[in-house]
C-alpha cells in the first residue's frame, strides 16, 4: 500500500464523518504578470535577448488557452503597468488598462510608475479597467476618488476554495514625485498587511491568501521586500511580486514556523507569464484527531 492510499484509508477509519470531504480536492491556478511597462508590442529589434519576446496580444492567447484548460484561474498583475514605450506617452495608461480588460485580468495592484502622470491621469486610465485594484498600504484619505478604486482586500470564490487577495506598494520616497501622489500617504506594508490577512483568515474564512506586491523581491534588509514578508506577516500563501524586474524560473519557498509562503516574479515587459497551480485537499482535516492527513506533495515541475 502506498503512502497516499494508506493515509486515505486511515482518514476513513479515524474520521468517517469527514469521508465525503476527504475526497474533495480543489484546484486554483494563479496566472500573473508584473512590470509590463506599456510593452504592448513585443520587444523591438536591438534589445538583445528580449527582442521578439512578449506582446500583450500573444499573452491574451496564452491566457485564454490556459483558462479553457484549467477552469479555476485568477489572472493578476503586480503593478507598474505604465511607462516605458510611446504608448504610455500617447495614451497615459488608458490603452494598457483597456487591453488588460480584454485579456481578462481579475485584479491588479499599483506600482510606483502607475503614478507617473499623477493621480488624475491614473483615475482617468482606470475608467478603462474592467477589473478591480487591490492595495492595503496607500492611505488615500486625501484622494477619495482613488480610495474608491482601491480595495484593501477582495475575496474570490471557486468550487470549494475561497481566495483572499490584497496588495502592497513600494514607498513613494525617491520614486514618485510628491505632486504625483498628492493626497496619498504610504504606510508600512507589513503593518498594513497584518490586520488584512487576519481579517481574511478569521472573518472571511478564506482558504488561501495571495498578496500582489510591488515592493521588490530582495532588498537585502534595506527595506521591505517579498523575501522578508513571510517572516513578518503570518498567514500568506503566495506573494506575486514586482518592482525589481526579477526573472524567476520558479517560485521561491519561504518557510517560517507558521507555514510556507511561495514567492514568484516573472521579470518585466510581459516576456513571461507566471503560472502557479495550487490544490487544497479537504481531507487534510483534521484537527479532530490532531493529525494532518495529506496527500504527499508532488515535486514542482517547471
Amino acid at each position: 500500500m502506498d503512502r497516499r492510499a494508506f493515509l486515505a484509508s486511515s482518514a476513513l477509519v479515524l474520521a468517517p464523518r469527514l469521508r465525503a470531504e476527504a475526497a474533495q480536492t480543489s484546484r486554483i491556478t494563479l496566472l500573473h504578470t508584473n512590470d509590463t511597462h506599456s510593452r504592448i508590442e513585443p520587444f523591438p529589434p536591438g534589445m538583445g535577448n528580449l527582442t521578439g519576446r512578449g506582446g500583450i496580444a500573444r499573452r491574451s492567447t496564452l491566457v485564454h488557452q490556459l483558462r479553457k484548460e484549467l477552469g479555476s484561474v485568477l489572472l493578476l498583475d503586480a503593478g507598474d503597468t505604465f511607462q516605458g514605450t510611446p504608448y504610455y506617452n500617447q495614451y497615459k495608461g488608458k490603452l494598457d488598462y483597456q487591453l488588460m480588460s480584454l485579456v481578462g485580468y481579475d485584479a491588479a495592484t499599483l506600482g510606483n510608475h502607475d503614478f507617473d502622470s499623477g493621480v488624475e491621469a491614473l483615475l482617468e486610465a482606470m475608467t478603462e479597467a474592467r477589473f478591480p485594484f487591490v492595495n492595503c498600504n496607500f492611505d488615500c484619505a486625501g484622494a477619495p476618488a482613488l480610495a474608491k478604486r482601491l480595495h484593501p482586500w477582495l475575496v474570490r470564490e471557486f468550487q470549494g476554495l475561497k481566495v483572499g487577495l490584497t496588495g502592497v506598494g513600494v514607498a513613494f520616497k525617491n520614486l514618485v514625485s510628491p505632486r504625483n501622489h498628492q493626497g496619498i500617504t504610504w504606510r508600512d506594508p507589513y503593518e498594513s498587511l497584518k490586520p488584512v490577512v487576519r481579517h481574511l483568515r478569521e472573518k472571511e474564512k478564506v482558504d488561501m491568501v495571495v498578496v500582489l506586491s510591488h515592493l521588490g523581491h530582495d532588498l537585502r534588509g534595506d527595506t521591505h521586500d517579498d523575501l522578508r514578508m513571510p517572516g513578518q506577516v503570518p498567514g500568506i500563501d503566495a506573494i506575486i511580486g514586482g518592482h525589481s524586474h526579477t526573472f524567476l524560473e520558479e517560485p521561491v519557498r519561504v518557510s517560517t514556523g507558521l507555514g510556507t509562503t511561495v514567492i514568484f516574479q516573472v521579470g518585466f515587459g510581459g516576456v513571461n507569464l507566471g503560472r502557479m497551480d495550487f490544490t487544497l485537499s479537504r481531507g487534510e482535516l483534521k484537527a479532530v484527531t490532531g493529525q494532518a492527513l495529506g496527500v504527499a506533495p508532488s515535486p514542482i515541475s517547471s
Partner: protein, 267 residues
C-alpha cells in the same frame, strides 16, 4: 458559551492545518509561438499607426544642429543628452543629481540643422535604455571618469569638468564639479546613468558599485523628447552646450586612439 469558544478554537486549528499546496509552477514564455489574439490586435493596430504617424511631428528647432563629433572632438550632442538626463532625474525628486554619465556609443547619429521631429530623436537614441539613479562616492565618480578615459577615450557626462594632462606614459587626471569646486572622495552624491551601463555594459566597474538603484522607468529618449518640448514651450531653440567639459592635450588624445595611454594617475 464556553463550548462554542472551544469549538471555534478547534475550527481555527483545523483551518490552519489546511494549507494549499503548490503542485506546479512555471514562467511561461510569451513569444512568437503564440498567435496574437485578434480581439486585442484590432485595438492595438490603430494605436500603433497613430504612434508611428507621430514620428513626423515637429517638436522643436535646432538652427545649428547638434553634433556628436568625431573621435578627438567633444561630443556636444552627448553633453546635451547627459544634461537632459541630469535635469530630468533631479526633477523626479529625492534630491539633486550631481553627475550624469552616458555612453557615446549609444548616440547613434547627429541632429541636422533645422526642425527637430520626434523621429529624429528616435534616430539619435533608438535604444530603450532606461535612466537609473544610483548613489556613488566622490571617489567613485572620479573612478568612473578615469575608467572611461582609460578604456574608451571618455564618455559624455554632465556635472563635472575633466582635465587630462602630463606625459603619455603617466597621464594625470584632474576632475572637479562643473562649478570648479573640489570633489570630496568621501561625499555621497546621486548619479544618473543608463540601466545598460549600470548593468555592466561597456565595462565601467566604478559605475557598477552604485548603491540604492532607482529605476526611473523613463527612457533616456523620453527625457530627450521632453527636453526639446520644454525648450519649445519656453520659446527657445535647441543649441549645443558649451565645449570644454573635457580638456585633453592632443598628444594624449592621439595616445588614446593608438591605445598607448599609460595608466591614468591623479585623484
Amino acid at each position: 458559551m464556553r463550548l462554542r469558544n472551544l469549538s471555534a478554537l478547534f475550527m481555527a486549528a483545523a483551518l490552519a492545518g489546511q494549507a494549499p499546496q503548490l503542485r506546479k509552477a512555471e514562467a511561461r514564455p510569451v513569444n512568437d509561438s503564440l498567435p496574437g489574439d485578434p480581439a486585442l490586435l484590432r485595438v492595438i493596430e490603430p494605436a500603433q499607426k497613430e504612434i508611428e504617424s507621430g514620428f513626423g511631428k515637429v517638436i522643436g528647432q535646432a538652427p545649428d544642429g547638434l553634433f556628436k563629433g568625431r573621435f578627438g572632438e567633444e561630443n556636444l550632442l552627448g553633453y546635451w543628452i547627459a544634461d537632459a538626463m541630469r535635469e530630468r532625474a533631479s526633477a523626479l525628486g529625492g534630491g539633486p543629481v550631481k553627475f550624469a554619465f552616458t555612453n557615446g556609443g549609444g548616440v547613434r547619429t547627429s541632429l541636422k540643422p533645422g526642425p527637430v521631429r520626434v523621429g529624429d530623436i528616435f534616430e539619435v537614441m533608438p535604444f530603450e535604455n532606461e535612466m537609473i539613479v544610483v548613489e556613488l562616492t566622490g571617489a567613485e565618480v572620479i573612478g568612473v571618469i578615469r575608467e572611461s578615459l582609460q578604456r574608451r577615450g571618455g564618455e559624455p557626462c554632465s556635472g563635472v569638468r575633466v582635465e587630462l594632462s602630463g606625459p603619455v606614459q603617466k597621464p594625470i587626471l584632474k576632475v572637479t564639479w562643473a562649478d570648479g569646486s573640489l570633489i570630496l572622495p568621501g561625499e555621497t552624491v546621486r548619479v544618473v546613468t543608463s540601466d545598460y551601463l549600470y548593468g555592466g555594459g561597456d565595462g565601467i566597474p566604478s559605475l557598477r558599485k552604485g548603491r540604492k538603484p532607482n529605476t526611473t522607468g523613463l527612457t533616456i529618449r523620453q527625457a530627450l523628447l521632453d527636453a526639446v518640448q520644454e525648450l519649445t514651450r519656453a520659446g527657445r531653440t535647441l543649441g549645443a552646450p558649451p565645449a570644454g567639459r573635457y580638456k585633453i592635450t592632443p598628444e594624449l588624445f592621439q595616445a588614446m586612439r593608438d591605445r598607448k595611454l599609460g595608466p591614468i594617475e591623479g585623484e
